[in-house]
């Protein structure tokens, strides 16, 4: 996973899957990088083949982190299976989903 900072926004990318095995570490590493001046979190899901309920939990946690600092969580280019799960669990209405 790669984490880049761009102004008020922190972007996590290169996530092959977001599942029970790594959800906590994705969440914790991103939160650790989230510093002063950051408001928004973007998670690039273009390389993410799969997401499970634990992965969704991590996204909700990051959403809360951003919201607590007046920002938003944006999901970038989710792959079709990920998009499907977001819709199934209605999470696409909570998060900003962006197709770049």
């Amino acid at each position: 996973m790669k984490i880049q900072s761009n102004g008020h926004t922190l972007r996590a990318s290169g996530i092959a899957e977001l599942s029970a095995a790594n959800a906590n570490s994705v969440r914790d590493e991103t939160r650790q990088a989230f510093g002063q001046g950051h408001r928004n979190i973007e998670v690039d899901l273009s390389q993410t083949a799969a997401v499970d309920s634990c992965g969704l939990g991590a996204l909700v946690a990051l959403h809360k982190t951003a919201a607590a600092h007046g920002g938003v969580l944006r999901l970038i280019n989710p792959t079709p299976p990920v998009q499907q799960i977001l819709e199934l669990t209605r999470m696409h209405r909570i998060f900003e989903v962006i197709k770049e």
Partner: protein
């Protein structure tokens, strides 16, 4: 005609280490298998995710000792449907009847929702030590990408499944047979013997011993397949060698202990009585309480090396029977407890009868005065009682007492106290001397059972309009008249505390329109919803400001107290006597 094979199911079965990092491999393996069967994209995606969620649960909720055990994943592809089974070793959970999405801000709770949404059906079968989640998806024509020929594979698995179904059926039908037999637990030994003999038949065992746990430290034989195995008690918590016995090990470790002719068995272990025995010991726990152990097995050498003594399904059947027997043991225990309850209910009934018989049916009359009395018990039987002894036309002795404790004993002491007071007419005009006498008479009996009595005796002379009060550790006497209210509490210990103790008395005049109140502490200790006590101050205030004949005052006070404790309820006996005149 023999089956052509074209409609026979294909199956995949593998063990998954209890570690989240392996879930992805499991999902890939099942994915690959489904692709080979010609599974369509949509179903593939759904199964991938449902399987991941099922495996996550099986691994995340496995307790530490079960982490060494694999999660078993099976996928069975049939012409019209696909089934995925995940067998876990967690304590299991109740599958909710309705699964909704959690609140959007919740970070967990979406797994079961996903499984349910993605699959056509999800059934969670719970068993002793392991549970199986069965997920099904029906295969329409779109489900199969092409008219793919299902592969003929893994006959062994299918025969295993058949074997399991057969033994499940046998276990279930045997258990239903016993459940339908209502009187069966009256003789637990016989019942257990019959049940376990049937079990031995179902799993092809040659012998069994069921030991029942006793005080969580002993396991004693309840029944055994042969009398030779009925070998006394195993004290598995004692500092002795018993703890090394196989049955004790199972009870202590809470794990199934498997053994065969090569296992080390302690020299004195009762299982040694079966030469070259092989089998297992199943510890039976219900709600974390050890109910007993079931040792069951065969004799002699195994047919071939590596072949298990019991198949998984046989071991499951053994567990199911043992758990069922445990429930019957609990049933018997509950029936016994019920009998004990019935006895104590009978005891309370007797005590209630005694207490009611002590209360006067009618208060005597005293010229120029009105009398009223009230007695209410918190439980069926309390220790409060009152009495009024008419001595002659103008005089009477009023008694109010509270025997510490409840039930038959308290009621009996109340009866004795009443009898002693009535049998001592020469002292009825001298409350202090009477209390000293009663204390001497009852001391041995009361202190022998660690009970005591608080009592107040009030002698009233209506003609002379005076009153003498003696008190044995009881609440004060309250007297109100036009000038205000006062409390009288001459010194004195409760009855039954010291063998020889002195009691004081106090004599006062009874002015016109006076109101006298004798009461027990249930009145002042009445508690309202805020936890406040009614207290003596409120009681004195009430008496000071409430006028009227005794009967009216009684109703008024009763209402006042009921109102006060409206929300908290009665927690102690409440008794009082009112004299007005």
């Amino acid at each position: 005609m023999l089956d052509s094979g074209a409609s026979r199911p294909a199956a995949l079965r593998f063990a998954l280490p209890c570690d989240l990092s392996h879930v992805r491999h499991a999902s890939q393996a099942v994915h690959q298998f489904l692709v080979e069967q010609g599974c369509g994209e949509d179903i593939l995606t759904a199964c991938d995710l449902a399987l991941v969620e099922a495996c996550n649960n099986a691994i995340q909720y496995a307790p530490e000792p079960a982490r060494t055990r694999s999660v078993v994943v099976e996928a069975i592809w049939q012409p019209d449907r696909l089934e995925i089974r995940v067998t876990d070793h967690t304590p299991g959970f109740d599958w909710p009847e309705k699964i909704d999405l959690p609140a959007p801000e919740s970070e967990s709770g979406r797994g079961l929702f996903l499984i349910q949404s993605l699959m056509d059906s999800a059934v969670y079968l719970r068993g002793p030590g392991e549970n199986t989640l069965v997920l099904r998806k029906s295969l329409s024509d779109e489900g199969r990408k092409q008219g793919n020929q299902p592969r003929i594979e893994n006959d062994q698995l299918i025969s295993g499944l058949l074997d399991e179904i057969t033994s499940c059926y046998e276990s279930l039908s045997a258990i239903f047979r016993y459940s339908a037999d209502p009187g069966h637990t009256r003789d637990l030994k016989k019942f257990a013997h019959r049940l376990l003999s049937d079990l031995a038949g179902v799993v092809s065992a040659e012998w069994f011993v069921f030991r029942k746990a006793n005080a969580q430290s002993h396991i004693d034989v309840l029944t055994a397949s042969e009398s030779a195995l009925d070998m006394g008690s195993i004290d598995f918590r004692g500092g002795n060698n018993d703890a090394n016995f196989l049955e004790a090990q199972a009870a202590i470790s809470r794990k199934i202990i498997w053994f065969d002719e090569n296992s080390p068995v302690a020299a004195a272990d009762p299982i040694r009585l079966k030469a070259r025995a092989r089998g297992l010991v199943y510890p039976v726990f219900v709600n974390d309480e050890l109910l007993g152990t079931l040792a069951i097995g065969k004799n002699g050498k195994s047919a071939s090396a590596g072949q298990p003594i019991f198949t998984n399904s046989q071991a499951n059947a053994i567990g199911a029977f043992a758990q069922f027997l445990a429930l019957q043991i609990i049933n018997v225990r509950m029936q016994e407890a019920h009998t004990v309850n019935r006895i104590s209910a009978r005891e309370l009934e007797i005590a209630g009868t005694i207490q009611r018989s002590l209360l006067l049916k009618e208060l005597p009359s005293l010229p120029g005065f009105e009398l009223a009395a009230f007695c209410r018990s918190a439980d069926q039987v309390g220790g409060d009682f009152y009495d009024v002894l008419k001595l002659n036309d103008d005089t009477a002795l009023f008694v109010i007492a509270d025997v510490m404790g409840k039930g038959v004993l308290a009621a009996m002491f109340a009866a004795i106290l009443r009898a002693v007071l009535r049998a001592t007419p020469e002292l009825n005009r001298e409350p202090a001397a009477l209390l000293a006498r009663v204390n001497r008479l009852l001391f041995d009996e009361l202190s022998g059972v660690d009970m005591f009595i608080t009592a107040q005796l009030v002698f009233v002379d209506a003609k002379a309009r005076k009153l003498i009060v003696g008190n044995a550790g009881h609440c004060p006497l309250l007297i109100a008249d036009a000038s205000g209210v006062k409390s009288l509490s001459p010194e004195g210990m409760p009855l039954g505390i010291l063998p020889d103790t002195e009691f004081m008395s106090e004599t006062v005049d009874l002015p016109e329109h006076c109101r006298v109140l004798l009461y027990t502490d249930g009145l002042t200790e009445a508690t309202n919803a805020a936890g406040e006590r009614f207290g003596q101050e409120r009681l004195m205030e009430w008496l000071n400001h409430t006028r009227g004949p005794a009967g009216e005052l009684q109703n008024n006070l009763n209402n006042r107290i009921s109102e006060f404790q409206f929300r908290s309820g009665l927690n102690d006996d409440q008794t009082f006597l009112i004299i007005t005149g």
